[in-house]
C-alpha cells in the first residue's frame, strides 16, 4: 500500500516557499505546450483573421493587400448563410444519431462485455486503421443506386421505384454519423466504465427500478462522456466537406465545401478566411451555450 499521505503543513512560511517553487515549475512545464499552441494555433488564427480582412479586389497574380476590409464578413454571410444553416442541421442530426446509437454500444461494452471488452473496443477503433477518405468511398458502394441495399429498399417500397440513397441528404448525414461514431462511443465508454457498480446496486437496494436507477445514477455519472462525445462529434462534423462531396450533390453541400472551393479554385483567400472564422465563431458560441447549460464541472 502507498505511504504517500501528505502531512499537514507545519508553518505558513514553509507553505509559501513550496508554493513559490511550485509556481516556477508550473510555468516551466507549460513552455512546450504554450509554444506549440503559439506556433500552431495562435499564429495561424491571427494570420487567418488578417487574411479575412484583405482587400477582396486582389487576386492571385497581384496578391492581396491588408486593408481591414470588414465588409468581407457581411458578404460571406449574405452569400452563404444557407450553407451554414445546412451544416449545423446535418451536424446536429448526425450528433444526435451518434448519441442514440453510441450510448447503448458504450453501455454494453462497459457493463456487459466481460472478457470481450477489449476486443469490442478494438472493433470500435478498427475503422481508423483505414483512411477517412477510403471509408467514405466505400459508402458509395454500399449506397449505390444499383447496389443491394437500394435494391432491397425499393423492393419493400421504402424507396420509390426511381428513388436513390446515394446523393441525398440521408446519405450525407449517414456518412457523418458513421465517420464520427467512434468519437462519441469512446468518451461515453470512458465515463461509463468509471461508474462505481456499488452505486447502482445501492440504488437497487433503495427500491429504485432499473430505469430509475439508470436515470438518477448511471446517466448523470456518464454526463461528462455525453458532453465530450457530442462536442467531439459536432465540432468536426460542422466543418466536414468530404461526406457532402462524395455522398451528396450540390444541394447537400456544406460550408466546408464552399471554403474549399473558395480557397482552392477561386484563390479567393479573404472569402475562404472569413467563412472559416464565421464558422469558428458560431461553433464557439454554440459550444459555450451548450456547456453552460449542461455544465462542465465533471469535464475538467
Amino acid at each position: 500500500m502507498t505511504h504517500g499521505v501528505v502531512p499537514p503543513p507545519a508553518t505558513t512560511a514553509a507553505v509559501d516557499g513550496a508554493m513559490a517553487r511550485r509556481r516556477g515549475w508550473g510555468w516551466l512545464l507549460l513552455v512546450p505546450g504554450m509554444l506549440y499552441l503559439a506556433v500552431f494555433f495562435v499564429f495561424p488564427t491571427v494570420q487567418l483573421f488578417l487574411t479575412s480582412l484583405y482587400d477582396p479586389s486582389g487576386n492571385y497574380v497581384q496578391g492581396y493587400t491588408l486593408t481591414w476590409h470588414f465588409a468581407n464578413y457581411l458578404d460571406a454571410i449574405r452569400d452563404t448563410w444557407n450553407l451554414f444553416v445546412r451544416s449545423f442541421i446535418y451536424a446536429g442530426i448526425a450528433t444526435g444519431v451518434c448519441l442514440l446509437f453510441g450510448y447503448p454500444l458504450a453501455y454494453a461494452i462497459a457493463f456487459k462485455a466481460g472478457r470481450w471488452k477489449n476486443f469490442m473496443l478494438v472493433l470500435v477503433i478498427a475503422p481508423f486503421f483505414t483512411s477517412f477518405l477510403l471509408r467514405t468511398m466505400s459508402w458509395r458502394t454500399i449506397l449505390a443506386d444499383q447496389g443491394p441495399l437500394a435494391d432491397f429498399l425499393r423492393t419493400v417500397h421504402i424507396l420509390p421505384h426511381d428513388g436513390r440513397l446515394l446523393a441525398t441528404s440521408v446519405a450525407v448525414v449517414a456518412g457523418l454519423t458513421y465517420n464520427f461514431m467512434p468519437f462519441m462511443t469512446l468518451p461515453l465508454f470512458a465515463s461509463l466504465d468509471k461508474v462505481d457498480h456499488r452505486l447502482i446496486e445501492a440504488a437497487g437496494d433503495l427500491y429504485s427500478s432499473p430505469f430509475t436507477g439508470f436515470r438518477k445514477v448511471t446517466f448523470p455519472l456518464s454526463l461528462p462522456g455525453v458532453v465530450s462525445g457530442t462536442l467531439l462529434c459536432f465540432i468536426p462534423a460542422c466543418g466536414d466537406y468530404i461526406n457532402a462531396e462524395l455522398l451528396g450533390t450540390p444541394k447537400q453541400y456544406m460550408v466546408g465545401n464552399r471554403i474549399q472551393s473558395a480557397f482552392l479554385t477561386e484563390h479567393n483567400y479573404p472569402l475562404a478566411a472569413s467563412l472559416s472564422l464565421i464558422l469558428m465563431a458560431i461553433v464557439v458560441v454554440m459550444v459555450v451555450a451548450y456547456v453552460r447549460r449542461v455544465g462542465t464541472e465533471e469535464l475538467v
Binding site: 499564429f43 491571427v46 492571385y60 496578391g63 492581396y64 444499383q146 450533390t249 453541400y253 479567393n268
Partner: protein, 409 residues
C-alpha cells in the same frame, strides 16, 4: 498494513482550489499570457509584413542546377487514363523509354485531377521559388498559359527536342500563349463531349437533352472544370464561347443554376466521373473523349460530340522552376514524339495524337485506330470544336466565383 482511503474527489478539488488561490497558475493569468502573445504577433512591425505577395516570379531568379547528368530520374505528374500501362516487361511506352534511356520515371498517375486544384497544390512552392518535387506535369492550355505568364516554367532547349521540332503537327505549333513552344510541348489533345451508357439510357446527343430530359434527372454529372462546363452553357444560350460578355456569362450561370436546382445534376466531378459511370449511379455525363475508350473500355459507353458543338483543348507538358532534371524530361519528350511511340500511346489512350507520322504507324498496335475520329479527327469533325475565350485574372476570378456558387449549392 492499514488501507489508506483514496482521496475523495472533494478533497482533491479543494487542494486544487487552494493551489490556484495561492497565485500559482490561474486560468486567468494563462489567458492573459496568451493574449499578450497574440498582441505581440499583431504588432505593427508584424502587420507590415502582411498581405500576400503576387504569384509572379522572374524566371531568371528561380533557376536550379540541372542534375540530369548524375541523377537519371524524373518525377512525372499526369492525369489518369493518359498513359498505356505495362502489360509485361518492356512493353509499355514508359517501360521502353526507361530501358532505352536508363532514366527512372516516377509516374504519378492522377496527381493532376483538376487544373485549378493542381494550381493550388503547386502555387505555394512556385510563388516562393521552391521545388514542387515534380520535374514535369501536364495541364490544359489556359492553365499552362497562366503558369508561363507567372514565370513558373523553365524554358526548354530545342536542341534536345529534334523529334518535337520535326513531328509536332502544324495546328499546335504556335498557340498564342507560347508562340514558339519555348515552354511547353503538347502531350495530347482531346474533346469534351457527352458520354452515355447505352444499356441504361437512350442516346443522349445534345447538351440540352442532358440537362432537360426527365429520365436523366439526378443521373447526370457535369465537370468541375469551369471552362468545360460553361462552354456548353454558353453554346446553349446562343453565345460564342470564344467571345462573350460578362452579361452573357451571368445569364449562362443562372440557367445552369436552374438545372442544378431542379435536381437534374447529381454532382460535379473531376476525372472521377468514370467511377460513377462504371457503378451505374449515373447514366450520362460530360466526358473527355479518350476516357470513354481507355478508362471505360468503350462497348456500352458511347461518346458523342453534342449537337451544340464541343470543347477542344490541348494538355501540355511543362517543366516547373527548380525542377532539377530538365534534360531528362526533354529526352522523354523527344521519345514521345517518335511516331512509333506516339502511335503506341494513342492506340491506348485514344486522344488526339499531336505527332505527324503516327497514323502510318498505329496499325501495328490497333487496326481500328487508324481511322478513329478520336485520334485523327478530320477537318469536318474539328469544324464543330470550340475553344474557350482567354480570360484575364479579374474575369477568371469573377467567373470562377460565380461557377463555384452554383457548384456549392
Amino acid at each position: 498494513m492499514a488501507a489508506v482511503p483514496p482521496p475523495s474527489e472533494q478533497s482533491t478539488r479543494r487542494i486544487l482550489t487552494e493551489l490556484g488561490a495561492g497565485r500559482g497558475l490561474s486560468r486567468r493569468s494563462l489567458i492573459r499570457g496568451a493574449g499578450i502573445g497574440a498582441l505581440a504577433l499583431s504588432s505593427p512591425a508584424f502587420l507590415d509584413a502582411c498581405g500576400t505577395k503576387g504569384a509572379k516570379v522572374s524566371a531568371g531568379s528561380c533557376v536550379s542546377k540541372d542534375l540530369s547528368s548524375t541523377q537519371k530520374s524524373i518525377v512525372f505528374s499526369n492525369w489518369i487514363g493518359y498513359i498505356d500501362p505495362a502489360k509485361g516487361k518492356g512493353t509499355s511506352t514508359l517501360e521502353k523509354f526507361q530501358q532505352q534511356s536508363g532514366i527512372k520515371v516516377d509516374y504519378r498517375n492522377g496527381d493532376v485531377n483538376d487544373n485549378e486544384q493542381f494550381f493550388a497544390k503547386v502555387s505555394p512552392q512556385l510563388t516562393d521559388c521552391k521545388s514542387t518535387g515534380r520535374d514535369v506535369f501536364v495541364v490544359t492550355d489556359y492553365m499552362a498559359a497562366r503558369m508561363v505568364n507567372l514565370g513558373w516554367i523553365q524554358k526548354l532547349d530545342h536542341a534536345n527536342l529534334p523529334n518535337v521540332e520535326a513531328n509536332l503537327i502544324d495546328s499546335l505549333k504556335s498557340p498564342d500563349w507560347d508562340p514558339n513552344r519555348d515552354y511547353s510541348v503538347p502531350w495530347q489533345s482531346g474533346m469534351t463531349g457527352i458520354c452515355y451508357n447505352s444499356e441504361l439510357t437512350d442516346p443522349v446527343t445534345s447538351f440540352k437533352d442532358l440537362l432537360t430530359r426527365p429520365d436523366l434527372k439526378g443521373k447526370i454529372e457535369l465537370l468541375t472544370e469551369m471552362r468545360d462546363t460553361m462552354l456548353f452553357m454558353l453554346l446553349l444560350e446562343g453565345s460564342d464561347p470564344n467571345k462573350f460578355t460578362d452579361a452573357e456569362f451571368s445569364s449562362a450561370i443562372s440557367s445552369l443554376q436552374k438545372y442544378v436546382d431542379a435536381g437534374q445534376v447529381r454532382r460535379f466531378s473531376g476525372n472521377d466521373y468514370v467511377d460513377d459511370m462504371k457503378s451505374g449511379d449515373i447514366v450520362a455525363c460530360e466526358a473527355w473523349s479518350g476516357d470513354v475508350i481507355n478508362l471505360l473500355g468503350g462497348g456500352k459507353f458511347k461518346w458523342v460530340p453534342p449537337d451544340e458543338g464541343f470543347a477542344i483543348w490541348t494538355d501540355n507538358m511543362l517543366v516547373p522552376n527548380m525542377a532539377a532534371h530538365k534534360t531528362n524530361v526533354e529526352s522523354m519528350m523527344n521519345f514521345y514524339y517518335d511516331p512509333v511511340n506516339a502511335a503506341q500511346l494513342a492506340a491506348w489512350n485514344y486522344y488526339f495524337c499531336p505527332v505527324k507520322g503516327a497514323q502510318q504507324e498505329i496499325g501495328q498496335f490497333d487496326k481500328s485506330a487508324v481511322h478513329s475520329q478520336f485520334i485523327f479527327p478530320s477537318e469536318k469533325t474539328l469544324q464543330n470544336g470550340h475553344a474557350f475565350m482567354t480570360l484575364d485574372e479579374k474575369q477568371e476570378q469573377s467567373y470562377q466565383t460565380q461557377f463555384n456558387g452554383v457548384m456549392g449549392g
